[in-house]
Symmetry: none
Amino acid sequence: MDLDLIRKLAIPADTKIVFLVMDGLGGLPLEPEGLTELETACTPNLDSLAQRSVSGCALPLGAGITPGSGPGHLALFGYDPFRYVIGRGVLEALGIDFDLGPQDVAGRGNFCTVDSEGKVTDRRAGRIATETCVRLTSLLRENVRLPGVELFIEPVKEHRFVLVLRGTGLAGDVTESDPQQPGVNPLTITPIPGATDPAASQRTADLVNEFSAQARRILSSEPAANMVLLRGLDRRPSIPTMQEAFGLRAAAIAVYPMYRGLAKLVGMTALPSGTKLADEFDTLERAWPQHDFFYLHFKYTDSRGEDGDFAAKVAMIEEFDQYVPRVMALKPDVVVVTGDHSTPALMKGHSWHPVPSLLHSRFCRCDGTQLFGERACARGALGTFASVDLMPLALANALRLAKYGA
Amino acid sequence: MDLDLIRKLAIPADTKIVFLVMDGLGGLPLEPEGLTELETACTPNLDSLAQRSVSGCALPLGAGITPGSGPGHLALFGYDPFRYVIGRGVLEALGIDFDLGPQDVAGRGNFCTVDSEGKVTDRRAGRIATETCVRLTSLLRENVRLPGVELFIEPVKEHRFVLVLRGTGLAGDVTESDPQQPGVNPLTITPIPGATDPAASQRTADLVNEFSAQARRILSSEPAANMVLLRGLDRRPSIPTMQEAFGLRAAAIAVYPMYRGLAKLVGMTALPSGTKLADEFDTLERAWPQHDFFYLHFKYTDSRGEDGDFAAKVAMIEEFDQYVPRVMALKPDVVVVTGDHSTPALMKGHSWHPVPSLLHSRFCRCDGTQLFGERACARGALGTFASVDLMPLALANALRLAKYGA
């Protein structure tokens, strides 16, 4: 449903909504006729909740489309992920908890190796150690000088770093210097055809090209990481906050910086969330009176799926299940349990499969689902539905949407 | 499916379609794990029909969106309710059986109370008796004179009336004079930014402002209702008739004026329908040879839901069920049973929940549904589907749509 319409219909209410998001929740059986990770897991609390809920399978982006974490989360938060696009550099900056301003341009950087002619011989500089990355970003930070902008060069991991330009008259809509193959020179960055603000994009391209040129000189004596490649240069998307769009005082509870960053993009308050799952639920209880909406993110279902470790992902789901009674004890008006995408251990990565999901409220119209799992949810009353519809549904169940038309 | 496409594919056929619309049909259980009104009702005829039908849950507007009667019905009639918008004044005029012309501008009026400075002290004039409203609308009708337009001032109920301007060069796209709060003056009506025909909107605004000024003088000696407020001024939406869009000679059978009016908006013939449900089925039988499509509307499922009277809504559904054999005896080619929205007694009002629906025809591909109810329909082969898709489905089952493409 269109965000602009939801925005017009949103009304205040004294109700609370909780989104419990198990990252990469959806899975696959190891054998075609077997059980998925969630179906295998012993989840008495989620099953009991499913019996008092309406359920379905949430499709984050569309049939067959495998979501990245950015668009997967935007859809859950009620924003059309094709309308609001998060550049790779922006996501990388969020991932290191960089406090990105609305005018900043962020890009994802790689240290790489070039030969004497400047041709790329290794796009990842032999995956240098993270300590080397830290040392080299310091070196660049101390020596690169660009006119009229503030510069941030932050290490990420191994060969990866984040470049942020801060100043006025900057824009995205520029190409990348990474040629995506060895044996050729890094590319000169230029505005893309149809750039919204061609002059600002040209200025940004010039500055990043100058950064690359200076970096090459400064790094010339390095054995491996003697050059940089830049990708995904962009500004934060201009996006209404959850307060503006839905009238919600929203809070995020997440251990990983990237998810806190995604939540901050839509105006959520990122609460200090500790390091363990227990810390996150402690935070939820402590912050309960101050917010209307809580997004609680659990990373490790995805991590174990990415590892291809079926049993470990099952164990993560079982760990999460134990905390469900603590949520219900707070008597939320609406509880949603879902994921931002599927990460089947069988595939060791994100997948396109819809995500088992449930919504509980006094007005949810229970559908008789007995178990929380892929097949049970697919037969639920919500069927296979768009993830972006979860937010309007939650708002309606929280009595926060007015009638459309007389 | 897009109306323009359906229009191109529509072909004539000697087949008949019946839409049985129980207003506010969908419901909720009083206790989370209980039965809804429809699930509670003893409906042997609808259950038997469901066994020979394809079923599903119809979503009138979208996930979480609670429909008003106007958009809810437009969707059932096959018209995109976001493309064809019915102004509040138009709906109010339809509700009193006012025969609104395509050029007329209709507004919803309130009698209100203002103090000596003209500030609103009561937006509803103490909810004056309907007889007072009748007297005051007569007084205005006899005394207000506006240049170049014909004027209709019709009582509705208590403080509410309808104002209609008839003439050329009029338009909607104007603001409202109701300030929505006491203690301030009524607002001057102006064209809205982006009005389609600014000159016509300006003329309309001037005329309505002049009407308000004259009304204030005429009503000055009234103790309570000494001023008027106008809202929702608009023309009828320009909308293809069901004859034009679908090639159907369509008829409406409805007791309440507003539903007859909505049907007339899309070019249906509103048949004299009596006052009781039995009268409506008598009308259906009598008019059977003359039309291809019948919309039969039953109001009281919604009314008892709005009352919060679960048992009475159950009784209304059971009453309706008894008439189903009379419909089937006419041997219609396609029968649809649905509602324009849900009105759970638990919520005492319209809600966002999808509406249990069935479609019966020789070609419907029965899905094995055994009972007509929310949960059974949600598991039906149509799943949760858009209400606006019911009309193309019905046309197809009536062999009234040609193949698309070669």
